[in-house]
Amino acid sequence: MTAATATAPRVLRSPAEIRRSRIIGIIYLMLAAFVLVVFAMGTEGDATFKLAATGDRFEIPDLVLSAAGLSYVAAAFLAFLGGIQLTRGFGKATNIILGLAMAVIAFTFLGWAAAGKSLSLVGMLQLTVVKSVPITFGALSGVMCERVAVINIGIEGMLLSGAFLGALIGSVAGPWMGILAGILVGGLLAFALAVLAIKYRVDQIIAGVVINIFALGITSYLTSSILVENSDTLNRVDIFRAWKVPLLGDIPFIGPIFFNHNFFVYGMYVLVAVIAFALFKTRWGLRSRAVGEHPKAADTLGINVFRFRYLNVILGGMIAGFGGAYFTVGSAGAFDENMSAGRGFIGLAAMIFGRWHPVGALGAALVFGFADSLQAKLAILQTPIPGEFLLMAPYIVTVIVVAGVVGRARPPAADGQPYVKE
């Protein structure tokens, strides 16, 4: 029995899987050639990576690598992966290996960009975490809603509203009240989405689009009619300062990247863990997923489909509102028109890329945050690659993922369909 299950995946690979495996293998080989031609040839000088942030307790020396040498090694590694992928396949580890290959390419790219110069790797990865915060909250909001089969396109609007009230209420009553107001307004918008989608059975995507237009309109309108004139009293909020976690924050390299941030980042870690645990290890999670996969069956078993949908969508909205408050209370200190600038949509992309799983969503958000911080740093290093293409990367990756070229993303089975109780 055990022997059969161990060998079964390789024997019973479907034609689609074999095709996919071939495609990925060819992609590896192409990437190897790309690295060889673009990064390795004609590149001179050493890349200096700074591994320690200023003020660290432990000093670690800089990492100095030959840019060309790094590229040759990376190209060989990718070609090796491609060979195995084409012949044997990686089975269950395919996606992990793919992630590893991407990381290798990213690192090689950095080496190439920083050849002859010095780049603060710590600073860059720290920025990655920071940039991924609103994306992660948006993605978590999406996970909460879509696990009960309600599509939430309105994440962007919820982020924006959370940011607005975070600034307004935060300026009047202090940052904590600002966060609370952000959470509440997110919940309120989600409640509107839930009523439209669940009670009135409005097309969920239309309902979400409406929330985005409404949030953009009302925040811009109120900004120009109220905030601009009173910017000193109504649009200046004390932001949360970074707080270094004792012990964890002192770990060399890792510490400054992950454990020297403000409250929102730690809130993000906790929330990812809590939602992942709750969704997959608790009764609530099992029932939520049942509602999302097969509402009729769930209803037959006595689960109140409507209550679960309302509850989870509102919770999801609150998460987005909290994430929105990050823009003002956690980062900028003041509200600016349309300051979420599409992060909600990247959050949606991160949710899909992360396969509707909280941890996956965090991982995807970190990848997208990396593209964001890379774009910021590359402007300083003056590489020939335009930053706009890096900003495109999350969207292109998402299209590739939903098209099933690299790994099929499977949404909850009833996603987007209203439930009619018989």
């Binding site: 009135y200 995507i205 953009l216 109220i226 706009e388 098209a403 369909q417």
Partner: protein, 416 residues
């Protein structure tokens, strides 16, 4: 949740003045209506609900105007009568300015139709998708890509206007058609949901335009910021009202938009291909069993939709702006979603809705001047209009209108 026998419907039957709930009395009315317009459903859901939706949205907009003035809110405690008077005056100023700016002068009408041009085209783009059961959120990106191709043809070629202008417009159509066709192809071949892909394509287009405007080929010489070269005079859409005042921006783009509306009407309701589109939209499985090529229909619908979006972008470039800057699509592609819903996804409805939204855009600027009520209020009004259109039960509950069709499900969710 049985809508037929509960709620306002049941109450109405008791208190209502005229009883015409039987479908039979609705029959001939509906059939004639369908023949005139090519649309299903009776006049209540086709005309009454949109009108009431706009009205209700304007009323709520007035409430927002009333409560969004901090000084005025403070006055209510001291002198309620004066506060009431001032609030009314403020609302009157705002909506008076809105109307005057849109229709009060030749200039206003010119502005209304100038804005209506890209709105109608982008609205048609979304509407044709809806008819085929596809949700094209990508009009914004299609406007950008179509507009960019029209721009390049506009400044690069140097031929006579009789050739140059049609080529530039055609280029706009093709640019948009490619940008819309790829999501259509992905949907047909891989099942990738068009809502996700078109949203992503919007952002890719936005970043691409940011990049393209910095390249030496497109960026204007001697400028450090993102602005393109000017379109040559031979590729500009001629201004229609320049004989009154050269300032009036209304251009031949409106003719393109109206022709496109007629073309979409013909395509959807008079041609075989259009019948296939609608059949696929109504029931893809049924259409497949009837021997229609659903894959081809999806690609074609999205290509045509994208082409219309591209036309919207190119009329902006060739008619109004003359050059490209980041975000030259001005969120019109997103307004188009609201507009297509308001116009009931019917080409003629889209034209009317486009004129209304154009009026809101044009009047909004005058409103801002006349009453310092910000122009962003029109976004709120538009969002509210869509809410009431999308959830007609709300209208039914407020106004006791009977026989309103229940909300329709356009998309089928990601799960395929």
């Amino acid at each position: 949740m049985n809508d037929e026998n509960t709620g306002p419907e049941a109450e109405d039957r008791v208190t209502g003045e005229e009883v015409d709930t039987e479908p039979a009395s609705n029959g001939p009315d509906r059939r004639i209506w369908a023949r005139i317009t090519g649309a299903e459903g009776d006049w209540r859901s086709q005309v009454l609900v949109p009108v009431l939706a706009v009205f209700t949205a304007l009323v709520i907009g007035a409430v927002i105007i009333a409560v969004s003035d901090v000084d005025l809110l403070g006055l209510w405690g001291d002198d309620a009568g004066e506060a009431f008077r001032q609030t009314l005056a403020r609302i009157g100023d705002a909506y008076g300015g809105l109307f005057k700016g849109a229709f009060g002068s030749v200039r206003g009408v010119s502005e209304t139709f100038t804005w209506a041009t890209p709105l109608i085209l982008a609205g048609l783009s979304v509407a044709i998708g809806f008819r085929a059961g596809l949700f094209n959120i990508g009009a914004e990106g299609q406007m950008l890509m179509g507009g960019m191709l029209a721009l390049v043809i506009g400044f690069q070629l140097n031929v006579t206007i009789w050739l140059h202008l049609p080529l530039a417009i055609l280029g706009g159509f093709i640019g948009g058609a490619i940008w819309g066709g790829i999501p259509g192809w992905l949907r047909a071949r891989t099942g990738a949901h068009e809502v996700i892909t078109t949203i992503m394509f919007n952002w890719i287009a936005i970043r691409f335009v940011d990049y393209a405007l910095k390249t030496t080929f497109i960026q204007r010489e001697g400028r450090p910021d993102r602005i393109s070269k000017d379109v040559l005079e031979s590729a500009r859409l001629p201004k229609l009202l320049s004989w009154i005042d050269p300032q009036y921006r209304l251009n031949a783009g409106i003719i393109v938009a109206l022709l496109a509306a007629w073309g979409v009407y013909w395509l959807l309701f008079k041609s075989t291909v259009g019948f296939e589109f609608r059949a696929v939209g109504a029931n893809p499985d049924g259409a497949r069993y009837a021997g229609m090529n659903v894959t081809r229909a999806y690609i074609l619908v999205m290509a045509v939709a994208g082409g219309l979006g591209g036309l919207a972008g190119s009329t902006q470039i060739l008619g109004v702006l003359g050059n490209a800057t980041p975000g030259f699509s001005a969120n019109l592609g997103f307004d188009a979603i609201a507009l297509a819903l308001l116009g009931r996804s019917h080409p003629f409805g889209v034209v009317l809705a486009g004129i209304l939204f154009g009026a809101l855009r044009a009047g909004g600027q005058q409103m801002q001047v006349a009453s310092d009520v910000g122009i962003d209020l029109i976004l709120v009004i538009q969002a509210l209009i869509v809410v009431f259109i999308a959830a007609p039960e709300l209208i039914r509950a407020i106004f006791r209108v009977r026989a309103v069709k229940a909300a329709e499900q356009i998309t089928r969710g990601w799960a395929t």
